[in-house]
């Protein structure tokens, strides 16, 4: 068994204003994931947005990544990456899938990790830390902010 040293994750290093999507609402989870993938891939030329979106959506077919706090963390582990990458969407109105089986989403945090096993513990650590940080009160606070810069700044704090 490998162990990890948990430390406070700095979201500032993962999220820049260009990777923040602040919207009133969004038509579907799939489209929102695609938009966030596009935002990340702008900074990572080695990534193919269609391929990344396909991998993230494939993972979404398995165990749900949406928590009942309103946070969704679609994620994938990519061979092309050597470090973690992310983008975030904050919705003022919850995104509800038409099927009704998914929980409503207020914040979607797209999280991409290197596929190498050495990064897996850190990958888990970040997933846990994100879930711990994005509690309903914090999500409300993010939704009340007026622009992407404020969101990025709040996340970096």
């Amino acid at each position: 068994m490998s162990t990890n040293e948990q430390s406070k994750i700095s979201l500032g290093s993962l999220i820049t204003p260009a990777r923040v999507l602040l919207a009133e609402d969004y038509p579907s989870k799939k489209e929102l994931i695609s938009a966030l993938v596009q935002a990340v891939c702008r900074d990572y030329k080695q990534l193919d947005p269609a391929d990344v979106a396909a991998q993230v959506l494939k993972r979404e077919e398995g165990i749900s990544t949406t928590l009942d706090t309103g946070l969704s963390i679609p994620h994938a582990r990519l061979e092309e990456l050597t470090d973690f990458a992310a983008a975030v969407a904050v919705l003022r109105k919850p995104l509800r899938e038409t099927s009704g089986s998914e929980l409503p989403i207020r914040v979607m945090f797209l999280f991409l990790s290197p596929a190498k096993p050495a990064f897996f513990q850190k990958h888990l650590q970040i997933l846990s830390a994100l879930a711990e940080k994005f509690k309903p009160e914090f999500i409300e606070e993010l939704a009340s902010l007026s622009n992407a810069e404020e969101v990025a700044l709040r996340l970096a704090r």
Partner: protein, 675 residues
């Protein structure tokens, strides 16, 4: 770490908490297990010698001693049977090894003996009690003598009715009580032995004769077969056959096996040694001393129904001390013999239940008491038959003793034959114990010792067919009747049996709804806690790993099953758990028993298993959370979801690190929460 507050994310995810309180999930040390067996097996000391004396004369102590030595072989047989871990004792072993018909025959024969064990024990206890009253009356100079047979029948009826009620109510006698009885018996045995040696030193002593003097009754049909009486070995086997009733209760070991704590195999061996040692000293030793000290004419005329009381009254010393000694023997005898009455009811009920689980008995037998949850129809039938036997016996212990031993001998014949066959059928299965004398041939261990034992058992059982007329007629009649009932019932129940076969065996689980998780874990008292989440009864590798490595003295193992549910009613008591969780928890209980480790099984109704697991782990203050791998999703998505949920639920700093592990066939994915 504390339970997440109600405001936290997942607080509403656990809708209902049910603690499964199946009694079998607590385990007992080897000495308590031995005490439970000895309360039945040891009780034959109070009647076996007297009955043997009436059958073949003053040589009886040699044969009782021989039977007690022989019990060592049967205990070894039970060790191998238990090491196969076929649940359900001799019946299931025979079924596994030799098929349904042989199993039904063995069970029918064994139930016959169970039914007799109760009356013989209860009536003997009555004799001892009445003997004591009469001794006091005689000592006090009273001219009256209480009628022993009447008193013993009345006492027998009373004890049987008492345990009938207790069994219907499902009140189990504690193993601690058995241990106290055995400790007291050991003290009495020690005192008797010391006093006997003093008496022998004062009065002189000589060994009992070895010549056999069969009564006409004890020769049975062999009385008319001249050649049988001329072969010395046959005579010895006849005497041995009349003494095997001293083995009464030895089969209880396979019943208590499932309750023995970890490390199960070693503890079972220790229990078997303890049982053997005690039985040899108590039954063998005291019977021998009785034959040495009590004048033979008194054994034959006065003390044949309460031999050990006769031993006390034949010691050298003042009468008042002898009376006190007799009183101690009677207390010890009444306690042990009454325990044997109870064990006979439990044993036959348990055996009938095993048969019912195979779909052989109709639903009428399987009917569960609405209030107590016991199979009361079976208990009623057994108790009524036992009461009838007591009345028919009219207090005659010898008659009961003569009827006894048919079932136990033939059941052992079937059991040893089945174990021999299983050496081939289950050659690859690892056995913690093998009956000695084996020859390794390729992948097989040829069971020379078992074959010899089988030969001996068959010989004695066949000799008994000729000599023990009452046992043969009554035993064959009863076995044939019960076998016919089983066969007919099986035919009538064929459709239901097919359904039961498809469903597999289900443990009857007592379930109790509690207020919240905190209440569910309120009785956990070990410093370390491991929470094991289970879902699929076919996929419990992770639980097995935990049970095989956990230290029962320091660790509480909580087994959590999350039942997915949309809408549930709060605080509604469940009499019995629904089918799917029964299947899961049956498998859990099977593993807990296999490793002898107590588990706390908890069922939660939740619409998200990961939230329920995280919340339960938090409330239980678990240091480890262990899950099995999902065939559909795989370990990595599982652990990702688990850590996300943990983060969402967590609202306090951890008091200690918590390790989340997903285990499957030799592999593991884990994550350690350190803050």
């Amino acid at each position: 770490m504390k339970q997440p507050s109600s405001s936290s994310a997942g607080a509403s995810r656990v809708k209902k908490v049910v603690v499964l309180t199946t009694a079998m999930l607590t385990f007992i040390p080897f000495w308590k297990a031995a005490a439970v067996v000895l309360c039945d097996f040891g009780s034959s000391a109070f009647y076996a010698g007297g009955i043997a004396m009436r059958a073949f004369g003053p040589a009886f102590p040699w044969y009782i001693l021989a039977v007690m030595l022989f019990s060592g072989l049967l205990l070894m047989l039970e060790l191998e049977a238990c090491s196969l871990f076929v649940r359900g004792g001799a019946y299931k072993i025979v079924r596994e090894g030799m098929g349904d018909t042989a199993a039904k025959l063995a069970a029918s024969a064994l139930i016959f003996d169970f039914i007799l064990t109760g009356p013989i024990s209860a009536v003997t206890a009555g004799h001892y009690l009445c003997g004591l009253f009469n001794s006091f009356l005689e000592w006090g100079g009273a001219a009256i003598e209480l009628p022993e047979n009447v008193i013993s029948v009345l006492f027998g009826l009373l004890v049987t009715v008492y345990f009938w009620r207790q069994n219907v109510k499902g009140i189990e006698e504690s193993s601690s009580k058995s241990a106290k009885i055995i400790a007291f018996s050991l003290a009495v045995c020690f005192l008797l032995a010391i006093w006997s040696f003093i008496t022998m030193a004062l009065h002189g002593a000589h060994l009992p004769p070895t010549q056999l003097a069969f009564s006409q009754e004890a020769l049975g049909w062999a009385g008319g077969i001249d050649w049988m009486q001329t072969i010395g070995l046959v005579g010895m086997m006849m005497a041995f056959g009349h003494s095997v009733l001293a083995l009464s209760g030895i089969e209880t070991l396979s019943q208590v096996y499932r309750e023995i704590e970890y490390p199960k195999a070693q503890n079972l061996k220790k229990a078997a040694w303890l049982i053997f040692g005690f039985a040899l000293l108590f039954t063998g030793g005291l019977t021998f001393l009785s034959a040495v000290i009590i004048p033979p004419e008194l054994v034959a005329t006065k003390y044949y129904d309460n031999l050990l009381a006769g031993l006390a009254m034949s010691m050298a010393g003042p009468n008042i001390l002898k009376l006190l000694m007799q009183a101690m023997i009677v207390v010890c005898g009444v306690a042990m013999l009454s325990g044997a009455v109870n064990t006979s009811l439990i044993g036959s009920n348990s055996l009938m239940n095993r048969i019912a689980e195979d779909g052989i008995l109709t639903d009428w037998f399987r009917k569960i008491h609405r209030r107590y949850g016991t199979s009361y129809h079976i208990i009623h039938v057994i108790a009524i038959v036992q009461l009838a036997v007591i009345l028919v016996s009219r207090g005659n212990v010898y008659l009961l003793g003569e009827a006894y031993a048919f079932g136990v001998m033939w059941c052992f014949v079937f059991e040893v034959s089945a174990i021999i066959r299983l050496r081939w059928k289950r050659a690859a299965q690892k056995r913690d114990f093998m009956f000695p004398l084996n020859i390794k041939y390729e992948n097989y261990y040829i069971p020379v010792g078992l074959i010899l034992l089988c030969g001996f058992l068959v010989s004695v059982a066949c000799v008994n067919l000729f000599t023990k007329q009452v046992a043969t007629v009554a035993g064959l009649g009863f076995t044939a009747f019960l076998f016919a009932v089983f066969s007919l019932s099986e035919r009538l129940n064929a459709k239901r049996a097919n359904t039961m076969f498809e469903e597999g065996y289900r443990e009857r689980i007592n379930a109790q709804t509690v207020d919240d998780l905190k209440e569910a874990f309120s009785e956990l008292d070990h410093p370390h806690r491991i929470l094991v989440a289970v879902k699929n009864p076919e996929n419990l590798y992770h639980l097995e790993e935990v049970l095989s490595n956990a230290n029962a003295d320091e660790t509480d193992v909580i087994v959590l099953y999350c039942k997915p549910v949309e809408n549930v009613l709060y605080r509604q008591d469940m009499r019995s758990a629904a089918v799917d969780e029964q299947e899961v928890f049956t498998a859990v209980i099977f593993l807990a028993e296999k490793y002898g480790l107590p588990v706390t099984p908890v069922l939660v109704h939740s619409n998200d298993a990961y939230y329920a697991i995280a919340q339960a782990a938090a409330v239980a203050d678990a240091e480890e959370v262990v899950m099995g791998v999902s065939g559909r999703h795989g370990a990595n998505p599982q652990i990702e979801r688990a850590v996300m949920t943990w983060g969402a639920v967590k609202d306090h700093e951890l008091k200690h690190p918590v390790t989340l592990r997903i285990l499957w066939e030799g592999r593991e994915v884990s994550y350690r929460f350190t803050r």
